[in-house]
């Protein structure tokens, strides 16, 4: 196999490590995780480190992101062991994020993270209304969530991100506005705001289908989204991706790597990689994952080698999620293809429909298109 240059960008990868444990699963969460108490976390950590070791030839990683599940559900010494191993191999990533569950984020954990060189925390605050947290199945209180942010700030983290969820049944435009106000008042640098989605197989989705509650109607969901963009924008958080907002200079480098379609290495159960032109996803099953790693084989549940056209389309779809959109020169440099020519038909249609804006050097979704981005992006999903 002799891949064309575009498939092997000589770029430094990002590193993602998935900790598939939680104390309790939240009702809405579609990510892979299991309850910690039914597992021995040390054997998993051993497997994570073994998988990590397979990339010893990689000279450097650009960013590190430890996510989950909740990484903070691990005993702090195990989490420290993982971080230490990463830092030992790649001492100077440009950004090192750990996701934290506010219920598990106390001074001890935060100072450990700080001590090991983590420089960005992402806190799963989700809401500032107790009822909404209860609806989502979150165990922590509003006060605890606020306190976790304070702890991080007190202990010197100058890059803190929080997650918010809107369109939670029972919420209103008024309650969402209060939520946004509370978030902005916290003094964090980064906010991710997600419309509540009903992921297949989650208890929340089952309950919805059973008619146990009324979902927020589309019109209100849309208005909440628009409100987030406007409110956060005026509070100094510029939108840089569909669901992400940051103070100037605080966009998440790691996640930007995904949307720029740069390579990344994923470690752990259910983690995805885009490495050496290949997209793989590990088994979303702790036992199977450990077994495979211990046996010395790979742990891929899925493996695909996108061809040239698929790479073009992936790049287009991912780039277009960002407010910067497609950098035409960079696109051509990476793929060898003129973006405007390759996607002439959908560009023309959506430009006419007011959903895509085209300038000399960039193509991006218009503000109006953001809330309906999938209906536009699908036209870039294949040639």
């Amino acid at each position: 196999m002799n891949p064309s240059p575009a498939s092997l960008p000589d770029e430094t990868p990002g590193l993602y490590l998935h900790v598939p444990f939680c104390h309790e699963k939240c009702r809405y969460c579609g990510f892979y995780s299991e309850r910690l108490r039914s597992h021995d976390p040390s054997s998993l950590v051993a497997a994570l480190l073994a998988e990590l070791d397979r990339y010893r030839d990689v000279r450097s990683v650009r960013t590190v992101y430890i996510g989950g599940g909740s990484p903070t559900s691990l005993p702090p010494e195990l989490l420290a062991e993982i971080i230490t191993a990463i830092k030992a191999r790649w001492p100077a990533p440009e950004e090192f994020t750990v996701e934290c569950n506010p219920g598990q984020t106390d001074e001890r954990v935060v100072s450990m993270l700080r001590h090991h060189g983590v420089d960005r925390l992402s806190l799963g605050v989700q809401s500032f209304h107790a009822k909404e947290l209860a609806f989502l199945g979150r165990r922590h209180s509003v006060e605890r969530a606020i306190e976790s942010v304070r702890v991080a700030q007190r202990l010197g983290f100058d890059h803190v991100s929080i997650d918010l969820v809107f369109a939670i049944p029972g919420s209103t435009l008024v309650s969402w506005r209060r939520c946004l106000q509370s978030a902005a008042a916290l003094g964090v640098q980064h906010i991710s705001a997600y419309s509540l989605s009903y992921e297949p197989g989650t208890p929340l989705e089952v309950a919805r289908r059973a008619g146990q509650f009324r979902t927020i109607d589309e019109e209100t969901d849309r208005a909440m989204y628009e409100m987030a963009i406007d409110f956060l924008g005026s509070a100094g958080f510029a939108q840089y991706e569909i669901s992400n907002f940051a103070q100037s200079g605080y966009a998440c480098l790691h996640n930007q790597g995904y949307w720029q379609n740069r390579p990344y290495i994923g470690i752990g159960p259910a983690a995805g990689s885009y490495w050496q032109g290949r997209r793989t996803v590990n088994f979303a099953d702790i036992r199977q994952y450990i077994q495979r790693i211990e046996a010395g084989s790979d742990a891929y549940e899925l493996s695909a080698h996108p061809d040239r056209n698929e790479r073009l389309c992936e790049t287009a779809v991912l780039n277009l999620r960002t407010r910067e959109g497609v950098d035409l020169a960079a696109f051509e440099r990476c793929t060898g293809v003129d973006f405007r020519r390759a996607f002439e038909v959908p560009l023309r249609r959506h430009n006419r429909g007011g959903l895509i804006e085209i300038s000399d050097d960039r193509v991006r979704l218009t503000r109006n298109a953001l809330a309906v981005a999938d209906s536009v992006l699908c036209d870039f999903s294949c040639l």
């Binding site: 990002g14 993602y16 998935h18 997600y194 419309s195 989605s197 589309e218 019109e219 969901d221 849309r222 989204y225 569909i242 669901s243 996640n255 995904y258 949307w259 990344y264 994923g266 259910a270 983690a271 995805g272 990689s273 885009y274 997209r279 996803v281 899925l302 695909a304 698929e310 389309c313 992936e314 779809v317 991912l318 999620r321 038909v345 249609r349 006419r352 429909g353 959903l355 109006n368 953001l370 809330a371 309906v372 981005a373 999938d374 209906s375 992006l377 699908c378 036209d379 870039f380 999903s381 294949c382």
Partner: protein, 598 residues
């Protein structure tokens, strides 16, 4: 060959009564093909035909059979078995002296049996009644024989009992063909006259005509003349289907075979054409039968992802081998450039549509089929229109006429009530009922074609639990009280959604139609009003609400492949869409014009 030892015949039957199986058995028994060669239903050589179990194009095969010490030449001319292809049956019969009319021993006489019998009688060929599938446990040959006598006038004691599947009775049947069917007249000393009863286009040899020689003979290197077109050609090849094409030097009087003569396009030689010798032409052509009449029209537009020129190329390819299909460029104010296509009937249309998509990678959007109408203008000019959009302004119309058919339905007595109720709602007028036996009845209606062309057959099948069969034949255009319904999508009239209906049903049809459209057209980023106008007046409105949210909130590293798949599926859902202004209208919306259900 001595004409006394030639027999030319067709097999005609209702669909699934065993026509092709009988043909296969005859080919085997005469040694024309071996059993091993006997590919299932050899005579149907198109995939779609085989899949649908029907024969679309007639074809001919020559067999040899020993009877009473003589070698007989048996020419079997195959016919299609669907109502849309009546004219193919009649053109096959025009080349024959006899017809074998098959009836399934477990099903009895069906609507198409009757229609085929009428055709045979009109053509003047000798009819042999055959009762097939006598091996079936449900076979009731005596009852069926009685029906045949009662309805078709074929004497019950003269019916042949066979099983094409097991081969029972086939030898006797072949003997009877030699014994009972008339031989062609010996007109070998008259000037040459040969009937072209079918043709197809071969990529290498050009047009291959299927011919029956009625007088004189055809020879290789002979100069021939097409009597209707008046053009002359040199015969380069003559032959017979045995069943593969086998060249011969001469086709004598009474014989059936093919002719190749450097004719390039199918349009250069009409089926029904008479071929004569250029140097010694016959004074008159053979009596030609009626050319097929296209009764159903539909517009085809390239979908948003296909180019017009590609669609044109695809149609050209299809038209090469189907002279009864036509297409003309069409420019719709709402849908842009496309083609108006004419078909013999709805099945014919479906077959063309399927071939179009299967054999060409084109994304098409098709409008609801419509029948043709006759408009009498104020200055007494009579015009044929093939689409509601061609209808002139009301003030110029003196009279609007629609096509009527003679409709025959055969069904069980317990479903009579339901069928009569349906027919009444469709403006059909009962002409007569005739009991075939105490449990089966044949009903004859005068029916507007527009009311029965689409789902009527499915409906009577449903009412009769699959029992009823129907057949129809065009009779005449007649004036009725028709109006045009216009549909506005997002304020823009969409000609492809217009329809012509009887005034009494117009308002209700219009209201139903926009409700169906509301369900069929996907939501857009803006609200879409749908309106019904009759005679320029808006009588009803529906609204398609805008969709406000369609976005994946989270997309990070683990989900890229999965998400791309989801997006691709979403894009796939946009296939067969046509932009009407800024509204994308899917194929099924155009078809909802036809749906009269609630």
């Amino acid at each position: 060959m001595d004409t006394r030892h030639i027999r030319n015949f067709s097999i005609v039957a209702h669909i699934d009564h065993g026509k092709s199986t009988l043909a296969d058995r005859m080919l085997e028994l005469t040694g024309t093909i071996t059993q091993r060669q006997a590919q299932e239903q050899l005579l149907d050589d198109m995939d779609i035909e085989r899949e649908r179990g029907i024969t679309i194009k007639a074809s001919a095969v020559t067999m040899e059979y020993q009877y009473e010490g003589h070698t007989y030449m048996l020419n079997l001319i195959d016919t299609p078995g669907h109502v849309d292809f009546h004219y193919e049956v009649s053109r096959a019969l025009a080349a024959c002296e006899g017809a074998l009319l098959i009836v399934d021993a477990s099903q009895g006489v069906e609507a198409q049996t009757v229609a085929n019998a009428y055709l045979a009688v009109e053509t003047g060929v000798e009819i042999m009644g055959i009762i097939n599938k006598i091996d079936l446990p449900a076979a009731q040959p005596e009852v069926v024989a009685e029906e045949m006598e009662h309805v078709l006038g074929i004497r019950r004691n003269e019916c042949f009992l066979i099983s094409a599947k097991t081969g029972q009775g086939i030898g006797e049947l072949l003997d009877a063909v030699c014994e009972l069917l008339p031989a062609p007249e010996d007109r070998s000393d008259e000037p040459t006259r040969a009937l072209v009863f079918d043709s197809h286009c071969d990529p290498y040899r050009g047009v291959i005509c299927y011919v029956r020689v009625f007088s004189g003979s055809l020879k290789v290197r002979q100069k021939i003349r097409l009597m209707h077109k008046g053009r002359s050609y040199l015969v380069t090849e003559l032959g017979k289907f045995r069943p593969t094409m086998t060249p011969v030097e001469e086709l004598g009087v009474g014989e059936v075979g093919y002719i190749v003569a450097n004719i390039r396009n199918l349009a250069d030689v009409n089926v029904g054409e008479t071929i004569t010798e250029d140097a010694n032409p016959a004074p008159d052509p053979l009596k030609s039968y009626q050319p097929p009449m296209q009764m159903v029209f539909s517009d085809f537009y390239p979908g948003d992802n296909t180019e017009y020129s590609k669609l044109r190329a695809a149609f050209e390819k299809l038209a090469l081998n189907d002279a009864s299909f036509s297409f003309t460029p069409q420019n719709s104010p709402a849908l842009g450039f496309g083609f108006r296509c004419g078909f013999l009937g709805l099945l014919h249309m479906e077959i063309i549509q399927e071939r179009l998509e299967r054999e060409n990678d084109v994304d098409i959007v098709q409008t609801a089929p419509t029948v043709s109408y006759e408009v009498v203008t104020n200055d007494d000019e009579v015009r044929r229109i093939e689409s509601p959009s061609e209808l002139p302004d009301r003030s110029h119309i003196k009279e609007l006429r629609e096509p009527f058919v003679r409709l025959e339905i055969i069904t069980s007595t317990e479903s009579i009530g339901g069928i009569m109720k349906l027919a009444e709602g469709r403006r059909c007028k009962l002409i007569k009922t005739d009991y075939l036996n105490p449990t089966r009845v044949m009903m004859e209606y005068k029916a507007p074609l527009a009311e029965i062309v689409y789902d009527f057959y499915d409906q009577i099948k449903g009412i009769s639990r699959g029992y009823a069969t129907m057949d129809y034949e065009f009779t005449a255009f007649e004036a009725t009280n028709l109006v045009k319904i216009d549909i506005l999508v997002n304020g823009q009239p969409v000609d492809a959604l217009s329809l012509i209906v009887h005034r009494d049903h117009a308002e209700q049809r219009g209201r139903k139609l926009i409700i169906k459209l509301r369900r069929a057209i996907p939501r857009h980023q803006f609200e879409i009003p749908l309106q019904v106008a009759i005679g320029g007046k808006i009588i009803a409105r529906e609204t398609i609400k805008a969709f406000r949210k369609d976005v994946t909130a989270k997309l990070y590293g683990g989900d890229v492949t999965r998400k791309m798949k989801v997006l691709k599926r979403q894009k796939e859902g946009k296939r067969r869409m046509k932009s009407v202004g800024s509204v994308q209208v899917p194929q099924k919306a155009f078809m909802s014009v036809l749906d009269t259900s609630d």
